[in-house]
Each structure stands twice: as structure tokens, then as C-alpha cells.
């Protein structure tokens, strides 16, 4: 079974037409891959569907705007994948 990162990278590649081999766990979705907030909604939609979760984008955005979190915590793909794993685990708990 593909890892969470692999699934996310495939979603990003297909949704945003970005070459898959340029997407790494260290990639920042916004700063490195140039994905804007509107395009990220399509990615969030695909992630929500694929993993059966609801990415808390509003909460994350608020935390970043309030200075309580950095974009790296949520939008560097290895960190995003970890957040997805946490949400999936919480769903099954």
C-alpha cells in the first residue's frame, strides 16, 4: 500500500499538473510547488475523499494568521502527511 506521502504527492501531481518527480517530502506546497489557496481546495477535496477525513484548513489558516503555527507545520508535505495520519488515526479511535 502506498504511503500517505505517496498518495498526497500523486494527488498534487494530478490536481495541479505538477511533475510527480519534483514533489518530495520536503516540498512546501505553497513556497516550493507554487500552489495557491484556491488550488489547495481541490487538493484538500481529493485528500478528504481519499482518506475519509476533513482537513481542518480553517483552523490551520487561523493558527498561521495568529502566529501560533507556521505554514511549514501544515504545508511541508512530510508534515501534511503526518497530520493526515493523525486525523485518520483519530477517526478510527
Amino acid at each position: 500500500m502506498a504511503s500517505t506521502f505517496d498518495q498526497v504527492a500523486t494527488i498534487i501531481a494530478e490536481t495541479c499538473d505538477i511533475p510527480r518527480d519534483t514533489i518530495t517530502p520536503e516540498s512546501h506546497a505553497i513556497d516550493d510547488l507554487g500552489i495557491d489557496s484556491l488550488d489547495f481546495l481541490d487538493i484538500a477535496f481529493a485528500i478528504d475523499k481519499a482518506f475519509g477525513i476533513k482537513l481542518p484548513l480553517e483552523k490551520w489558516t487561523q493558527e498561521v494568521n495568529d502566529g501560533k503555527a507556521t505554514t511549514e507545520q501544515y504545508f511541508v508535505l512530510k508534515n501534511l502527511s503526518a497530520r493526515i495520519d493523525e486525523l485518520v488515526a483519530a477517526k478510527g479511535a
Binding site: L38, L41, D42, A44, F45, K54, L55, L57, K59, T61
Partner: protein, 157 residues
């Protein structure tokens, strides 16, 4: 339908929050200055206004789904297809369903029919936020009353 005020929906015919669906009616006026230019001698309802009608229909569904606490704003239009002409005087039946309920955003699928025939359809994305101010909320409350928004449906949703 009051094109000058961008009020395209006349009446909510059905709203089912559990099923996440809505059906509305909208009467295209027989005469309007828009038709003098679009097009002279061959008046047609502009496709962009049909997309807006689907967006407003979806918007009322989302307002109900969000219990009248948040306002949806159109963010993206996908797969919009104008399948046939819509003419002055046509009575539109517009339906929408909530395809995805995300965090701060939602996606809907909407259709416009005339006499049962599918005229256009689209997949729409909205961002939604708390009402920006009391004026806007008040305006939407007044509009809701005007078009028969069934507030009791929210209580049972």
C-alpha cells in the same frame, strides 16, 4: 428574477438538508435591456447569468446547511456546460446538491432545466465565512423571507 439587482432566484420549491439538496424556480423576464444587446434580434439568457443562477441556488443550500451562520462566496466554476439556449420568458427549475462539505469550503453540483429538459450544469466551489457584517446578514435574511426559505427545515436538518 430581477436582473438589475442580480436577484435571480424567485422561489425555493424544495429544500432537504438531510439529503443536501435544493430546488428553486426562476422566471426569466420576457423583456430586459440585457436582451437588447445579447443579442439584437435573437435574445438569449447569457451563460454567465445561468452560472450565477446555479451559484445562487447552491448558495441558499449552503446557507441552510450552515444554519444561516455563514455566507458562501463563489470561488471556482468547473465543468460548466451550456447545453441549450435559454430564452426570455423561460421558467427555470434549478437544483443543486452538496457534493462535498470541507473545512471553510464546499462543492456543489447544479443543473438548470426548462420544461424538464437539461439546459446547463456545473460543478461549483465556494468558500464560506461568518457573515462579514450585520448589513449583509440582514439583507440575506430579507431575501430568504422573500423567496420562501423554509427556516423550519434547518431545525430538522
Amino acid at each position: 428574477m430581477h436582473l438589475e439587482y442580480f436577484q435571480l432566484i424567485d422561489r425555493i420549491a424544495a429544500l432537504d438538508i438531510g439529503e443536501r439538496t435544493i430546488t428553486v424556480e426562476a422566471q426569466v423576464p420576457k423583456e430586459n435591456t440585457i436582451f437588447e444587446g445579447h443579442f439584437p434580434g435573437y435574445p438569449l439568457m447569457p451563460g454567465v447569468l445561468l452560472i450565477e443562477a446555479m451559484a445562487q441556488t447552491s448558495g441558499w443550500l449552503l446557507i441552510a446547511h450552515l444554519k444561516f451562520e455563514r455566507m458562501p462566496f463563489l470561488a471556482a466554476v468547473k465543468e460548466a456546460k451550456m447545453r441549450d439556449f435559454v430564452n426570455p420568458g423561460d421558467l427555470l427549475t434549478i437544483d443543486a446538491k452538496l457534493a462535498h462539505d470541507g473545512s471553510g469550503y464546499a462543492m456543489t453540483e447544479a443543473n438548470i432545466r426548462v420544461g424538464g429538459k437539461l439546459k446547463c450544469n456545473a460543478t461549483l466551489t465556494f468558500r464560506h465565512t461568518p457573515f462579514p457584517n450585520a448589513d449583509m446578514r440582514g439583507h440575506m435574511e430579507a431575501m430568504a423571507t422573500k423567496i420562501g426559505f423554509p427556516r423550519e427545515a434547518m431545525a430538522h436538518g
